[in-house]
Amino acid sequence: MTNPYSPAFAWQSRAILGRHLRVHLRNWYTVTLPPVCEPLILLLAFGVGLGRQIGTLSWHGQSVDYLHYLAPGILAYTAFMSSFFQSLFAAYIRMHFQKSWEGQLTTQVRLEHVVWGEALWAATLATAYAALVCVVLAGFGLANILTLHWEWLPFSIPLLFLAALAFSAIGLYFTAILPSIDHMTLPFFLVIMPIGFASSTYFPFPDVPFLSTAVRFNPLHQLAEGLRALLLTGEVTGHLTCAAGLCGLLLIIMIPIDMRLLRRRVFGDR
């Protein structure tokens, strides 16, 4: 195989991305509902509701109320979950049940374009969902419930895209190896729950030496903490650099593995 990264910029990958976008936009009114409602419900139920019981949390020596702690975390978590779900579940259905991959692969589109098209689409969708979360957060801001450094919000979008792209590469890995749709619960237990709960998204991670070291390698933790610092204090911290670095590393490692495994899966080939 030649360079596995350059097909990301090929017209065929954009054609696949465009295909997914067209299908998605046809149902925009139903598909937009969950990404708007989910953060709204989470912020109301946990941020406002549970937040009243919790009061304030200690975060890096500062006292922060739970809604403010939660808001940046939800932004990061949306990018993670949406991307992972799209590249795992939706891509698996397109590959295995709809056979739309096979239809695409009989044209000028090759497997590397399909893989990148899926990854780019998952990242684009997740970033769009994260942008909708930003709109919901802005609504809380207008209602004077939430105060963030709003000026940094647009700058978080490129990083969210990179993170979503990296998470999609993990999703595609499971798309390649899961024997059947009945095994879809495995990545939820093996990836989503450990990464999600050890990420400081919903609660500060306990200060246990071994765990604190391990969690540094969790890109979602770095992303959530970086966004939290950015939006609560307006500071650009090392967490953002670490998040970008870890996500970049994930992409570099996972994309060739995905392609190799998917080649075997789709073609029954070496």
Binding site: W11, Q12, A15, Q98, S100, E102, G103, T106, Q108, G268
Partner: protein, 311 residues
């Protein structure tokens, strides 16, 4: 069977030489050569597992051959893949249309997977929808169509970008006779347009009616090739003796055939025994009072003969 003059070498649109492919440790294709010319239908025949679909998949770039070279309209598939793929169209064995789009949407979307883009794509799609009788269903999802119209859509998708070579992998499997004939007419029209058509099928009448040339595969190799008569002569022989399985002398006769090197095969109530003129003369002399039928071989006999050789 369209018995015409053999095409010349200068209009070869598909040329595959020395194809080899191993899948799961088995050599599925073992040195197959194929050529197909402009305005020609090449029928690929063979029992299940003969390597037809794998050969086709290599020819349209879905699988990479372990060895061999494939040229589509003069472009090497391995080194000039984009141009080669632009010049070919594929109707896969399964319906691999995009079920998220309508019939028209499928053709539009398929057109987007090719560069340079078809200049008049919209008019081209309108023309295809008319030609393939898809107009009443143009705005429906393909899953709502009957089997025959799904296959029509699959073939329309294969030619939306005006390729020069079309691969049709069992295009009529599972269709009723009327739908099969409709697909045959479409295949005829593709040939008339000057496309090179490579077809795999299990239906012998289909292969005989549609193909200008046949290539018989067996265990990953070309067993015989050429015009239908020549292929039958090579593999089966000149005559087939049909002997009732209930005949009183049947065991004695079958034993005689086996001893003389013939390969009898029983199908329901009859034994089918392919043989050459000399063998037939000897048989007539050996059993002068026996009742039997002699007829020319068909492609069904070819399959029986191949199955017999395999077992």
């Amino acid at each position: 069977m369209n018995v015409g003059s053999m095409p010349s070498q200068d209009n070869v649109l598909l040329s595959a030489t020395g194809l080899v492919k191993t899948l799961g440790g088995n050599r599925v294709v073992d040195g197959i050569d194929l050529t197909c010319h402009s305005g020609e239908v090449l029928g690929l025949l063979g029992p299940n597992g003969a390597g037809k679909t794998t050969t086709l998949r290599m020819c349209y770039g879905f699988l990479r051959p372990d060895a061999g070279q494939i040229r589509i309209a003069g472009h090497d598939l391995a080194y000039d893949g984009d141009r080669a793929r632009r010049a070919l169209g594929v109707c896969t064995q399964d319906n691999t249309y995009d079920s998220d789009f309508t019939v028209r949407g499928n053709l539009v979307q398929t057109g987007r997977y090719y560069r340079p883009r078809q200049a008049d794509l919209s008019q081209r799609i309108d023309a295809l929808i008319d030609q393939f009788g898809l107009a009443p269903f143009a705005n429906q999802k393909p899953d709502t169509l009957s089997g025959g119209f799904k296959r029509r859509l699959m073939i329309a998708r294969a030619v939306v970008h005006q390729p020069r070579v079309v691969f049709l992998d069992e295009p009529t499997t599972g269709l009723d006779p009327q739908a099969r004939v409709a697909v045959w007419e479409l295949i005829h029209s593709l040939r008339a347009e000057g496309l090179a058509v490579v077809l795999t099928t299990h239906y012998m009448d289909e292969a005989e009616r549609l193909s200008d040339r046949l290539q018989v595969l067996q265990a990953g190799r070309v067993r015989a090739g050429g015009l239908s008569r020549a292929v039958l002569g090579d593999v089966v022989g000149e005559h087939v003796v049909l002997l009732g399985a209930q005949s009183s002398q049947v065991s004695e006769v079958i034993e005689w055939f086996k001893n003389s090197g013939a390969k009898p095969a029983q199908v329901l109530a009859h034994w089918h025994i392919p043989m050459d003129a000399r063998g037939l003369a000897a048989f007539v002399a050996a059993f002068p009072d026996l009742q039997y039928e002699v007829r020319p071989p068909t492609l069904d006999d070819l399959f029986l003969a191949l199955a017999h050789e395999t077992t």
